[in-house]
């Protein structure tokens, strides 16, 4: 293993965020969304496990408490993070299989387009969650 004696950022100006190109943004976004999702995962297990602490009543209470605009907004942020991380993850696995490495930049834009399209689809569920109404769950219905 290599000890980090010198700051790689100082040694190579390409590592400064303002010099990031697509591949670097793809990488840093994958990290940040991954870390955020782990944090959510542990919170999610804790909140579901309210049944361990007070049975069904405690679970229902927790679910009621989580029905608020802030939690809904948090779920929207989570949804965007999971979409990006999952679809960019497909891109990374394709690279591991030797597919598309030379077109990684174009594929990054592809990841953003597919994420955006699925986000538009998922937003209908969020509208129902946030506004408490029940519009059609899928746009074509």
């Amino acid at each position: 293993m290599y000890p980090l004696k010198h700051s790689p950022v100082r040694a190579n100006p390409d590592l400064l965020p303002r010099h990031y190109r697509q591949g670097m943004w793809a990488w840093i976004l994958h990290r940040l969304t991954g870390l955020g999702i782990v944090l959510f995962l542990l919170m999610h297990i804790w909140e579901i496990s309210s049944v361990n602490r007070g049975g069904g009543a405690a679970f229902n209470e927790t679910m009621n408490a989580l029905r608020n605009p802030l939690a809904a907004f948090g779920e929207l942020v989570l949804f965007i993070a999971v979409l990006y991380h999952g679809i960019n993850g497909i891109r990374l696995i394709l690279f591991d299989l030797g597919i598309g490495v030379r077109r990684q930049r174009a594929l990054f834009w592809g990841v953003l387009v597919v994420s955006g399209a699925l986000l538009a689809l998922g937003l209908s569920a969020f509208l129902r969650l946030i506004f408490g109404t029940a519009p059609a769950l899928v746009p074509w219905r």
Binding site: M1, L35, V38, I45, S49, N52, G55, G56, A125
Partner: protein, 114 residues
């Protein structure tokens, strides 16, 4: 960690990634696109968890997402602190085991329905 263990971690990270794409997709679809109850309640979740399929999906998600997430944390941390591998791995394994047991116990409460 030896190279051999490291490459296993690498393979498992990809394997769990592919499994999560399927399991998380199913999880999201069931909770948001299958019209069932308006609000999430204990009895509603308990009823759903009587089916073996949901049982497998939820236990699978618990174990696989914890592995993938915590191994991801390890990979990020090792980029900044390359020397802490052994103690960091041990700490993450303990966190993962506790979360698996605690979350697994919660699932059994739902399955027993009481």
């Amino acid at each position: 960690m030896s190279t051999r263990e490291g490459s296993w971690a690498w393979i498992l990270q990809r394997l769990t990634a592919v499994l999560l794409l399927a399991l998380l997709g199913a999880h999201f679809f069931v909770l948001h696109f299958v019209p069932s109850e308006t609000y999430i309640t204990f009895s509603g979740v308990a009823a759903r968890l009587q089916g073996v399929l949901f049982w497998v999906i939820d236990f699978g998600l618990l174990v696989i997402s914890l592995y993938h997430g915590l191994n991801g944390v390890r990979a990020v941390a090792l980029d900044y602190w390359p020397r802490v591998d052994r103690s960091l791995s041990l700490a993450l394994i303990i966190i993962g085991l506790i979360a698996t047991l605690y979350g697994g116990r919660a699932l059994t409460v739902f399955i027993r329905g009481m």
